[in-house]
């Protein structure tokens, strides 16, 4: 994973947009939970609050690091602060996608099959944080595609497509390095696109009956 320096201000902006969208979805789910008291909505609320916290922490530390180095290009940063941002981001993302995966699979009748598939995927990948997120996202996309094959709706299509984009973006970010900086940029832009799609879906839902 490699963040090109020229892209850092845009990365901060993308993180802030994703923070706002995630908070919007979380607040909407909480409002629904207060009315109908359904656990599924509470899981959505928890997952998106955690995503918002992770994006915000990552954006904040990236922005601080960028400004610090712009002021004094020769200054050596021990990377502690930016690493803390990444740690919070990864921790929150893993827990958030884990909560969503639990929400999907808790109602699966033969949960053992889902657990077996999930376990195989976890053990067959490197125990790197980004890989864990990718595995969780893969499970979420898998569950959404099954749902989509049964209940086809415009909103389900949008959510499923956005999670596919988030999955692809994490794969691209994982593959990025000094030579492949474009992967990181494309990955982040795809992630932004996914959250814009989620925002559009939510705005459409919030409209009059």
């Amino acid at each position: 994973m490699f963040t090109p320096r020229w892209f850092m201000p845009y990365d901060v902006l993308i993180m802030l947009v994703m923070t706002a969208v995630s908070m919007g979805i979380a607040i909407y789910a909480l409002r629904g939970f207060r009315w109908v008291k359904e656990r599924s909505l509470y899981y959505l609320y928890m997952a998106f609050v955690l995503l918002a916290i992770g994006f915000f922490a990552n954006g904040l530390t990236l922005g601080y690091d960028f400004l610090q180095r712009t002021g004094d290009p020769n200054s050596f940063q021990p990377m502690m602060f930016i690493d803390l941002g990444f740690a919070i981001y990864f921790f929150c993302s893993i827990v958030a996608y884990g909560i969503l995966a639990y929400a999907y699979f808790r109602n699966v009748r033969d949960a053992s099959i889902a657990a077996a598939i999930f376990g195989m995927l976890l053990t067959s990948t490197m125990p790197v944080l980004e890989c864990i997120i990718i595995v969780l996202l893969f499970a979420l996309v898998f569950a959404q595609m099954i749902h989509l094959s049964i209940h086809r709706s415009r909103y389900s299509m949008i959510v499923c497509s956005s999670f596919v984009l988030i999955l692809i973006s994490h794969v691209l970010v994982l593959m990025s390095d000094m030579e492949q900086q474009n992967y990181y940029v494309i990955g982040k832009l795809l992630q932004l696109g996914a959250f814009v799609m989620l925002l559009a879906m939510m705005l459409k839902l919030r409209g009059p009956e």
């Binding site: 359904e38 959505l44 109602n107 959404q144």
Partner: protein
């Protein structure tokens, strides 16, 4: 309750509330036997849920002699709107409520 494909389906508390409120709303003022039939509930469960809906201010009870009649309150109407919205919202994420 049976779903479209004929399999038994778990009904959440929110959905049972919604089914009862929809039955009452369609009638204007509904007697418990009518609600029981429309919402597909046993007598004991219906009594429990009617009490909960009344306590939450979603239903009004009016006594007509010895028989009770239920009508939906504005808060109950709002619940139905919110429930439908949240149903679509959760369904978009592939989750059922």
């Amino acid at each position: 309750m049976r779903s479209e494909d004929g399999s038994l389906r778990y009904r959440s508390k929110g959905r049972i509330f919604s089914d009862i409120l929809t039955a009452v709303r369609l009638e204007g003022a509904a007697r418990p036997t009518h609600i029981l039939y429309k919402a597909n509930l046993s007598h004991d469960r219906l009594t429990k849920y009617l009490g909960m809906l009344e306590d939450s201010g979603l239903l009004n009870r009016k006594m007509d002699g010895e028989r009770a009649e239920y009508s939906i309150t504005p808060k109950g109407e709002q619940f139905l709107v919110e429930f439908r919205r949240m149903e679509t919202f959760a369904d978009a994420f592939g989750l059922e409520i």
